[in-house]
Amino acid sequence: MSERPEHQGPELGGPVPRGTLPPEPPHDLLDQEQPFDAGQWAMHGLLRTHFDAERGDLDARARQILVRVQAATGAGASDAAGAPAHGDSAAGTTASRLLAAGPAARASRILALLRRPRAWLFGSGLAAAGLVAAGVVIGLRFSEREALARVVTGAVLNPTPVLLDVELLEGDALREREETIAAAQQQLAELRAEVERLAREGRAEEAKAAAHRVLLPWKDVYRPLYGLARWDEALAEMRAELAYMRPGGNPTGELLDSDWLSVLLLDLGGTLEAMGDYAGAREAYLASIDDRKQRAERGLADRCATEPHVYPVAWRVCTYVNCVMPAYWRMSYLCVVEGNLVEARQHHAAAEQCLRDYFGGVCQAAGVSVAPGASLVKIYEASPPEFRTPISEYTPAQVQAFEQAYNGFVPSSVFVTKLREHLYREARLRRVEHNLAGARQALSEATRVLCSPRHDESRLDFYEPLELARIAIAERDYETGLRHLAQAERHAGPIRLTDPGGNDVSHGPIAVVPLSELQSLKGAALAALNRSPAERERGRRAVEDTIARVARLGESLSTREQTEFRRPWAAWLDLADRMRQ
């Protein structure tokens, strides 16, 4: 039941750093509690502009605007460089008069202006380079920057963990995947036929056991289907499995009560979420949480009844971290996608409580007291060293020794990795809540949790820098954003992990959707920096390409469903549209 961080993008803070621009002036000069007086506001604007101009703040800005206007309208930088500064008087020559004048007079007047010595202050093509060197060029228009802010703050690129595994395969790779699906379907059909045969023959117990065996490989059918973005087919398989579990849905006529139900419900929720059916996803996730809690409590009762030496507290909290917490994470994220941040926080808190119970339980067993209200990381840091930096695998004797020493608790990399992933999710949630500083702090705290990449199937070495990039871009610090993106990119390839059993497991590269987000953010940040027209164009294309890839992921859906499918990507579509204009 492994979970991967379903990354998304959820804020935007107050005033943001803008390169070398002067500090933002105070905002309290207009008494906004007084009745609105347009004259006061107009004078406020005049005074601001007057003193900005007096200080010379506006000359560079005016030139910069001209460079940007001319870049946007196709004119060269040399024209911008030739424009007179504010201090230059046009000697009574108004633009209106120039407009009204004939072509020859216009050319003559403008030539005269451009020949003025100060007009060449920045010198031809050096103007754009000079502005870039000064760090004041922001290459996105307001509407584009706002669209980008929505992308990295409120909007989501891949709103569901299901999408993290989607691949756009072609050629041999696609054929190979389809063959795998066909083989799994064949196996499933054979198992179902076996159940039918046993039921027909009246071998009820054997039929029931065989029916349970049917449930296991079903995921090998529907997961590759949604992995190929064949949403409807995957959904049909999941609903078929759900129906099969019901008494009337299988040849045994009995309810097939299986642990696989809670897994299936999470997968179902993820698929519905990806398809834009949030109500359906909510129902599935809540059902999964409910089922997981019931199973945990039932399992505990069974163990207490059959194994007197069981450590109930440790067993319960470990089960909650492993089984219930991931479902809370899913619900929390769904609420983010729905825009319900209050409820998102509630589910996130429920997830956090699972980890608090675990590390708090460890501390208690170790006789370490923790201050009431201590942060999760503090509790983790108070736990014994072997719980903070567990090794891959312990011998049965070591496990027994730990159980005896720590009241049933055994160190495991699983819990440490989950703690770090939770902090990543905390950062993500804070970003959605428009708390960028808090988001960065959560990621900083995460680095205090010594999670080994060898055990991290959540790929936090990719997702944490990606999250830092989102925060930096939300703050319009595009250079830093690009650095974090480059770091994430370095961890996007295939990896080898050690599972909790100590086995080496290969994982493929980061899949198309998260990688697309990375490429898009990179493109948007490059366009924002506007270091050159070519780079801006490359950035624009990167965003457009991403949107095209996203559109392909919904191709198998009906037109109406495609609309729902693309809804979470509205901010990206908007950004691409604005950059195209």
Partner: protein, 183 residues
């Protein structure tokens, strides 16, 4: 011909940047956003230059585009940040009307007269008013800081600023009126 248009447009940007910025700056408190809005207004103006009716003041046409952009900006901000104070389209229109008054033909086509008048009017302000205006706008001090420095309440500083702005407005309008009569 196209190059000539571009160069000509450069002059337009030069001449109208200050006036346009003053209007946008009156509407939004954020200098960086004001830059973007001014920039976007000029880009739109360039693209729609053929629609410009030369019989009408260019500054008014530009301000119309800027008004549209400012309203769009506030709409987007309101959607993005639910609790943020934004100006209503009516308030933006009222501010635009104020600038229309400060920009009446035949004078003030390029605001240079308006800014020149402002410079003179600042000299006529009483000492206490001039002090708070300079501290607030020239030195970029917040009201709270000014109040601390001058040993006054924040409310008193705000009131003084309010009186100073009203006096400056009357002074500018009267100067522009007189110059218009002279013309």
């Amino acid at each position: 011909m196209e190059k000539t248009r571009e160069a000509l447009f450069g002059v337009l940007v030069h001449e109208h940047d200050l006036g346009l910025r003053a209007f946008v700056r009156a509407c939004t408190q954020n200098a960086a956003e004001a830059d973007d809005l001014v920039q976007e207004t000029f880009i739109t103006a360039w693209r729609r230059l053929d629609e410009y009716d030369r019989a009408r003041p260019f500054a008014g046409w530009l301000r119309g585009i800027a008004r549209h952009n400012v309203n769009a900006y506030f709409r987007e901000r309101a959607a993005l940040r639910q609790h943020e104070h934004v100006l209503s389209p009516e308030a933006v229109a009222a501010i635009a009307d104020e600038f229309e008054r400060l920009n009446r033909p035949p004078r003030g086509e390029v605001y240079r007269d308006c800014f020149a008048a402002l410079r003179e009017c600042l000299e006529t302000l009483g000492g206490a008013e001039r002090e708070v205006v300079h501290r607030a706008y020239r030195d970029n001090q917040a009201c709270r800081a000014i109040a601390g420095d001058l040993g006054q309440t924040v409310e008193a500083v705000k009131k003084r600023l309010q009186r100073a702005r009203a006096a400056l407005r009357d002074c500018i309008l009267s100067k522009l009126e007189m110059e218009a009569v002279d013309v």
